[in-house]
């Protein structure tokens, strides 16, 4: 099929639209390297300025953003790892084994993902206060495991259902035990799905705000909570804000570019299957 004039025109419109759509993101990146007087000028300056990294230094020194980054990486990384270790066997059980009501189990687990955070956060707040683990990385790891697990099981299940049904049969004929079947046959075939699920789990927790707001104050805070401190009653530091925001957004933008194809498939699987 050759693209018609009509479809070429439509594509041109799409390019323009996507460009306009991303102006706010570009504006954040631009603002983060502008000197403060340029940021606060009544007439926006687009490219005519001397770039500076002062705001990155400021957000690092004044708002201890290094610690926030470290907290984000630790809480989100560890919780994602735990989620994957627990979700994989569960997803395998509901997708490919002779489990009674496998689909019902999967749906019941998935339904937990739709609970409003406001209901769950209060018990966590009380228990964490009682155990004196409020404002630590530990409490956020626990919450992110609870909230990442349902979605991970569901998406992994979708990927595992997609694999041909004869794998286990073939493995058995080759004399493999079921553990060997899982590790030698299923895991390598499901590897892209496992990677996509891990990334989704990571992204959700990376951007999570509600739990981090309630359960951390300062030394356990992740980036989203720390960011809002740049714009509050005492500070209106647009430069620091945009520098911090860039540090928070950059890993996600990298993820989008590196995994574009897989992401679309993962999104579809999570939504459709």
């Amino acid at each position: 099929m050759h693209p018609t004039i009509y479809s070429r025109a439509l594509f041109g419109v799409a390019i323009a639209l996507v460009f306009i759509w991303l102006v706010p993101v570009m504006w954040v990146i631009l603002t983060s390297i502008k000197p403060t007087n340029i940021i606060n000028s009544a007439v926006p300056v687009f490219l005519d300025f001397d770039p500076t990294f002062d705001h990155y230094v400021e957000v690092y020194e004044r708002f201890r953003f290094g610690r926030a980054m470290f907290n984000s990486f630790v809480t989100v990384g560890v919780s994602t790892l735990i989620v994957m270790i627990v979700a994989l066997p569960a997803a395998y059980a509901v997708a490919r084994m002779n489990l009674m009501h496998g689909d019902a189990w999967a749906l019941a687990i998935l339904s937990l993902r739709f609970m409003p955070g406001m209901v769950i956060v209060l018990p966590y707040f009380k228990i964490a206060t009682f155990l004196n683990i409020i404002d630590t990385q530990l409490v956020l790891i626990v919450v992110y495991v609870a909230f990442g697990l349902p979605f991970a099981v569901w998406v992994l299940r979708g990927f595992l259902l997609d694999l041909p049904k004869e794998i286990e049969e073939a493995g058995r004929l080759d004399g493999l035990s079921w553990i060997q079947i899982i590790f030698r046959l299923i895991m390598p075939m499901a590897a892209p799905g496992i990677a996509v699920t891990a990334i989704f789990t990571f992204v959700f927790s990376w951007n999570e705000f509600l739990f981090a707001l309630f359960l951390t104050l300062d030394k356990g805070s992740t980036m989203p909570v720390t960011l809002q401190k740049t714009i509050d009653l005492y500070n209106v530091l647009w430069g620091s804000l945009s520098a911090g925001a860039v540090l928070q957004l950059l890993p996600m933008i990298l993820v989008v570019f590196l995994l574009q194809k897989h992401i679309a498939r993962g999104l579809a699987l999570g939504a459709v299957k």
């Binding site: 991303l22 409003p116 919450v143 495991v145 809002q228 459709v272």
Partner: protein, 309 residues
């Protein structure tokens, strides 16, 4: 939904495999019982107690008082009403724009892959980081939005987020900016899974352009559309981060969505009341999802009967 592979259906192995299956499922179930179900029950018991954050000694059971207090609070009803109309309007806009965007991106021209990943960026970046920066963009004096609107379109400079008449619309705009690409990408995945034979048949029948998408594609991706609506509805009803970051429910209570209202109860330290309100939000989500699925089921049944007769 599909059954287990043949291997696990074979005779005496089946029972043994079932035991293993439960063993594999157990860790996930135990974790979710401990970390999701137990807190839910705990929140349930809290909703029947008075439990001031700053004076825990007076905590005690008070029956349904928290719920009746909420029902008598006009701000509660305003926020529920606002949440429902918010969710409805925003989801409709996202679905319509998302569908159009998906059509534009449903192309095999070189570069469309890059375009698709660029448009994914808003979906993956933090609503908090972007929400704060949107406040900068809508800043009355130095903001980019006012500069474009006043220079390009002749508007007066305006403080969009601090006026009752524009705050909600501005918030909607930002929310749709973030989530329309999500809708578009999932619809696009649905569109691209339509079999080439159907596309070819439509081409031979000279069904093209927008007509092709409305008459052929739309009915075929109906299940995908329904799932996306469901996901968006739930997320919009429980919306908190963007709402809290950009307006905190203000000015007045013109943007006070249910979760943010619940947060103000927490800030005043009424933990029991907060739990009760949280449960009502949960109930609201269940209600809306229930009504949605029920209508869906009925309309599908009606459609099937029409086909038979």
């Amino acid at each position: 939904m599909t059954g287990p592979p043949a291997y696990f259906r074979s005779s005496q192995l089946a029972r043994q495999q079932r035991k293993v299956a439960y063993l594999l499922l157990a860790p996930a179930v135990i974790i979710l019982l401990a970390l999701a179900i137990y807190p839910l029950i705990y929140a349930g018991t809290l909703s029947f107690r008075v439990d001031p954050l700053y004076n825990p000694k007076v905590a005690r059971f008070i029956g349904w008082r928290n719920f009746t207090d909420l029902f008598e609070d006009s701000r509660f009803w305003t926020s529920i009403q606002l949440t429902l109309s918010w969710a409805f309007i925003v989801v409709v806009i996202q679905m319509v724009l998302g569908f159009l965007l998906a059509i534009m991106l449903d192309s095999k021209i070189r570069g469309s892959g890059l375009l698709r990943s660029l448009i994914l960026i808003p979906v993956f970046i933090s609503p908090v980081a972007m929400g704060l920066n949107w406040r900068f963009i809508f800043e009355p004096v130095t903001g980019l939005a006012n500069w474009i609107l006043s220079n390009g379109l002749g508007f007066e400079k305006y403080s969009w987020l601090s006026h009752v008449d524009t705050a909600l619309t501005t918030l909607m705009l930002v929310d749709c900016w973030q989530w329309t690409p999500f809708v578009a990408l999932i619809l696009l995945a649905g569109m691209q899974s339509i079999s080439p034979e159907i596309v070819e048949a439509a081409r031979l029948d000279r069904i093209r352009g927008i007509k092709f998408y409305i008459k052929i594609v739309l009915p075929l991706i109906r299940p995908v559309i329904m799932v996306v609506i469901l996901i968006r509805l739930v997320d919009e009803i429980r919306m908190f981060d963007l709402n809290y970051i950009m307006t905190e429910g203000g000015p007045g209570s013109s943007t006070l969505l249910a979760s943010t209202y619940d947060y103000t109860i927490f800030k005043h330290g009424h933990l029991g009341l907060m739990a009760a309100c949280g449960f009502l939000i949960l109930l609201l989500i269940n209600g809306v999802v229930g009504i949605f699925l029920n209508t869906l089921y009925r309309s599908e049944k009606a459609a099937r009967q029409e086909n038979i007769s």
